[in-house]
Amino acid sequence: MTRIFVLAEHRLQKLRDATWEALEAGRKLAADLGGELNCILLTDNAAGMADELAKECPKVLVVEDPKFETFNSDSAMKALAAILSDKAPFMLVMGNSNSMMDLAPGLAVALDAALATDCFAFEVKDGRPAAFRQMYNYKVNAKVSFKGAEKIVVTLRGGAFPFSSGGGAAGAVEKIASPVADEAPRKRFLNYVEAEKGDVDIASADIIVSLGRGIGDEPDMEIFESLADAMGGVLACSRPIVDKNLLPKYHQVGTSGVEVKPKVYLALGISGAFQHVGGIKGAPLIVAVNKDAKAPIFRVAQYGIVGDLNEVVPALEEKIKDLKG
């Protein structure tokens, strides 16, 4: 019986969404693999969180240790390796959050487990799981097998497993003594650093003209500014534009940038990686201009032009000015 363990994630004494999504995926895997479902909570103070999890999970294993007030991959790796070392066959499920990305690879080595990261779906055939994930700039889907491994770690694509409450009887909460009580972590959290705020707030803009790497290495930013002006909108961008210092970070749309909820989103030279699209909320009209007809952005856009920005953008500005009269 393959046991399913779900690793809870929390920040500031609150469970994060990724926890519930992992529980959703874990439930399905437990049903398909016929194993028991357990949740693991590493925290300094389980109050509230353990009970919240127990409402949705038959058994919650809790380790309380001051080291786990904030996420610490070094201590978490050692604690989980100790807890799970004799539990094979198992599958450990966690979000692919930026924190868990610190943990999963090292933990897989410590457990001698097979690891698939950023999975968006699973399939179980003849009692063997396979994972679906993306490759090649997120343009290709791949099915990955674990070569019959008895210990498997998977991390989940954010948003791929929307949670629905299971109801049922509350599960048991079992406390485990901290396996790392006497260990000094080699990694220490100091403080949070908030995002820098700027002169525009793209989060509240209705009309957004968003620029991606397709604008080239030395773009003439003025043509985009004047297009945005003509549309009465603001400029936003994908991550590479910020990396190149073409626009400040507070213009970046995406999971590591700002969440926007405009009425209209014009994507220029943006491929449409999920970390970018994940920052576009609500149900805006998405329009994309891209020279690659297979760019993923065209899957989420309602309208598109397959063409070169250098030609389309000036023409578009002119036509918009014409229409405005």
């Binding site: 090292g106 290709v140 220490r188 009425k263 209209v264």
Partner: protein, 263 residues
């Protein structure tokens, strides 16, 4: 500060029209340009900048086929002191775990304070090698590192969390950090710099020389296996506005006006 930077040679797929290869185990790569993985370019630059500030040595290493020599040479031109090319036909088809195994074997007997890599590679999008390598070598690690500073035998860095939030973290050395794109501005490599390293020796080291058994590398040494690749289902998709740029732009302007995209 002795820094080892691990870099990857990847096909440039961001703008290419991708096709699935026969057998559907991978995409067709023969016609694709290859280059250093974007994230790793920032890792090389960061290592060189640290060396310029505090002194030390920068070693660049890659598990990559012959063509990748170009990438290693360019890293030397960027300011790395030495480069090593780990390759053997047996390495073909290695997953992140097998690559980390190869790198760990190479690094094990070398002194280092810091290992830098990119957070993930644009080809497999896995983000496994840095953390696995750290665990194999018994040092702490972090990914998505967006600034680095050194205190006495410790490193202090900023790590990117979601939604624009960061955390400041302190870690003991030696350590492994996987960097985020944008933590520096990779320098422009001058022709002079390229010429200077044109004849620098870049040792190629194979499986046997590393002291690895063929069962530890390639598909055999891998923990996961790609069974099948496919282009994602088309779904609804966008209505593509045809015609030349002029005509399409005109139609798009009308659509924008109609849907409130002109304020």
């Amino acid at each position: 500060m002795d820094i080892i930077v691990c870099v990857k040679w990847v096909p440039d797929t961001s703008e290419a029209d991708l096709a699935i290869a026969g057998g559907a185990k991978d995409i067709k790569k023969d016609d694709l340009d290859h280059d250093i993985n974007d994230w790793d370019r920032f890792a090389v630059e960061e290592a060189v900048q640290i060396k310029e500030k505090v002194g030390g040595k920068v070693t660049v290493v890659s598990v990559a086929p012959e063509d990748a020599e170009e990438m290693l040479r360019e890293s030397l031109a960027r300011g790395a002191d030495e480069a090593f090319h780990l390759w053997d036909d047996a390495f073909e088809g290695s997953d992140g775990y097998a690559v980390a195994t190869i790198l760990a074997k190479f690094i094990k007997d070398r002194p280092f304070d810091l290992i830098l890599t990119g957070t993930l590679a644009d080809d497999d999008c896995s983000g496994q090698v840095g953390g696995m390598l750290a665990a194999m070598l018994g040092v702490p690690n972090a990914v998505l590192v967006s600034s680095i500073e050194f205190l006495d035998r410790k490193v202090k860095f900023k790590k990117e969390l979601e939604g624009g939030l960061y955390e400041a973290v302190e870690m003991d050395l030696p350590a492994q950090l996987s960097v985020a794109t944008g933590l520096n501005e990779p320098r422009f490599v001058s022709i002079r710099a390229v010429r200077k390293v044109a004849s620098a020796e870049i040792p190629v080291i194979d499986c046997g020389e590393l002291g690895l058994d063929e069962s530890q590398v390639g598909p055999q040494g891998s923990k996961i296996q790609v069974e099948e690749v496919a282009m994602p289902p088309e779904g609804e998709g966008a209505e593509i506005i045809g015609g030349g740029a002029e005509e399409a732009a005109g139609r798009l302007a009308e659509i924008l006006k109609e849907k409130g995209g002109i304020g």
